[in-house]
């Protein structure tokens, strides 16, 4: 549905977006990650046709956004950053206006407004003026505007920004559900959101794509991915370390926490180890040696760690070690 090819945007000398390429098909939810100022919003503004690209091309549903913007825009629903809305209008007035600009009229318009109000839980504020709404309601009003015409493509710039945890959860569920039938791109700072709603994620840093894969794949890039956490009682850290080092599957052991009752260690596998092999061998050792096992599990890796290791400049990484 969305195809982005070598998309580039320069503001003066500065390259805000530097030759990024990716595509999103129907049924996919693409998470757009990156630190502030990485070029997420600029990319989204180009994809939605708000700002023209310096170079590269964007096609939405087969229509080129630069050559043929109107039919391309018709397919898109867009929630800009900070959820702008006409503050002097009522919620229903604003949604009606958006529906009309989308070419809906009469009964179709009424149905569309009603549907969007229902999906975004706006029933209580229909006749309220937008400038009297709380941030959460305002955000959902703008979100409702983006889905008013049931678009095939949804571009959402930080859709959960400023919402409380319950609302975040609702919006995430909504995105995931709509993602079954649409092509969705959404940007966020919140990494659990990516795991909760995305089928694929892109990490963008200083205008370039630095990682692209499913949340699972990205997590596997973490250093601690595949390591085994072991917590046992009745043994000292040094002894545990020595015992574990005899296993052929173990590369190294790091004692994470130790007091007089228990030891917690992170055991890193040999690079050749197959999935689950390390956990099995550590378990067998623990049984043989009669450790008092309190916890034993394989770590999946953490997105935030991957995110940090990819997007922090080398110098900062050294300093925080």
């Amino acid at each position: 549905m969305i195809r982005v090819d070598n998309l580039t945007k320069a503001f003066g000398e500065k390259l805000a977006v530097n030759a990024i390429s990716f595509s999103v098909e129907r049924g996919e939810v693409l998470g757009f990650l990156g630190p502030n100022g990485a070029g997420k919003s600029t990319s989204m503004r180009m994809i939605t046709g708000f700002i023209p690209p310096t170079a590269g091309s964007i096609t939405v549903g087969g229509f080129d956004m630069v050559q043929n913007p109107i039919p391309a825009k018709r397919l898109i629903g867009y929630l800009p950053e900070n959820a702008p809305a006409y503050t002097d209008m009522t919620v229903s007035g604003f949604l009606g206006f958006s529906a009309e600009l989308r070419g809906l009229a009469g009964d179709a318009k009424k149905r569309a407004v009603h549907r969007a109000i229902e999906m975004c839980f706006l029933e209580g504020v229909i006749h309220q003026s937008i400038d009297t709404l709380s941030k959460g309601f305002r955000h959902r009003t703008c979100f409702a505007q983006s889905i008013i015409h049931d678009p095939d493509v949804l571009i959402l710039d930080e859709p959960t920004d400023g919402l409380d945890p319950n609302q975040k959860h609702e919006v995430r569920t909504l995105i995931k559900r709509m993602g079954e039938k649409k092509a969705i791109i959404f940007s966020t700072h919140i990494l659990e959101e990516v795991e909760a709603a995305c089928s694929r994620a892109i990490i963008i840093d200083r205008g370039q794509i630095v990682a692209n894969g499913t949340p699972q794949q990205l997590k596997h890039r973490s250093d601690i991915s595949g390591a085994v956490i072991l917590r046992v009682g009745g043994i000292s850290g040094a002894d545990l370390k020595q015992k574990l080092s005899q296993l052929p599957t173990v590369r190294k052991t790091v004692v994470v926490d130790e007091d007089k009752f228990r030891v917690q260690a992170r055991v890193f596998p040999q690079t050749s180890a197959v999935d689950g092999e390390l956990a099995r061998s550590v378990g067998e050792l623990a049984i043989r040696e009669k450790f008092q096992i309190e916890e034993l599990h394989t770590e999946e890796g953490r997105l935030d760690e991957v995110f940090r290791s990819i997007t922090l400049p080398e110098t900062v990484k050294e300093a925080t070690k």
């Binding site: 046709g49 708000f50 109107i70 702008p84 809305a85 006409y86 503050t87 209008m89 600009l101 070419g103």
Partner: protein, 249 residues
């Protein structure tokens, strides 16, 4: 394809925006009070001893100088400030449709304010036998004059997200259009007319005063019509260029 319906939708929203806030009512009341004051007090409506609205239309270029930019200053600067411009321009509509729609809404609003001066028309018809054709031409000229100022305000409001800056820029631009043909200024320029004989004519041709004069006398000259429509078209076109370059970064 359906540009008309897009323009209508945008104009409808814009117009209801005026009436949703006190701006519209404050503007209309002040406009009517000021036209009344200038016509009867400063213009000497009764002292003239003739059944005409000369003293009414005479002040319009000066009155509009401050009132029209007040109406137009928010047109695009507000969109930029709220960020709604991003919503509007990612809708499946052309940018010119949005520009024309917003302009027409404000123009219609000014037309409404002008229509509300009808009591003065009734008064003059009650007191004497004015030439209503001349008055009609005056109203047409006044509406075109307001439209020209408004298009200029539209252009300056696209330049900035600050309404005050937008207001000042448009007042200064409109003031230039007045002064270029205002007798005291043309008289001053007359001193140089020996060396540049065509200069004064050329400068005065840019003035709204020169072109509004005909309408006041009841003459609808095609050259005056073309002038006002050209100012409107040029300003709106420039608005679209400003908006495009702003988006391009």
């Amino acid at each position: 394809m359906n540009s008309v319906s897009h323009i209508k939708t945008i104009a409808k929203r814009e117009l209801s925006g005026y009436f949703a806030s006190p701006v519209a009512y404050v503007f209309i009341v002040i406009f009517l009070l000021l036209t009344g004051f200038f016509t009867f007090m400063a213009g000497g409506f009764f002292e003239r001893g003739e059944a005409s609205l000369v003293s009414f239309f005479l002040w319009h270029p000066w009155l509009y100088l401050f009132l029209v930019p007040a109406v137009g200053m928010r047109l695009w600067s507000e969109e930029r400030r709220l960020g709604t411009m991003e919503l509007l321009l990612t809708m499946p509509i052309a940018a010119w449709e949005a520009i024309v729609g917003k302009f027409l809404a404000s123009w219609l609003f000014l037309a409404l304010a002008l229509v509300l001066t009808f009591p003065i028309l009734i008064t003059v018809n009650y007191l004497g036998h004015p030439d209503n054709g001349v008055i009609f031409a005056g109203y047409i000229g006044s509406l075109l004059l307001a439209g020209s100022y408004l298009a200029i305000s539209c252009m300056t409001s696209a330049l900035t997200r600050n309404q005050v800056v937008s207001f000042i820029l448009s007042v200064v631009t409109c003031l230039f259009l007045i002064l270029a043909g205002w007798p005291p200024v043309t008289r001053l320029l007359d001193q140089f007319s020996d060396s540049f004989p065509r200069l004064i004519e050329a400068i005065a041709a840019f003035s709204v005063m020169t072109h509004f004069e005909g309408f006041q006398r009841g003459v609808i000259d095609s050259r005056d019509l073309v002038f006002f429509l050209a100012v409107i078209f040029f300003s709106l076109f420039t608005t679209s260029v400003i908006i495009r370059s702003h988006r391009a970064g």
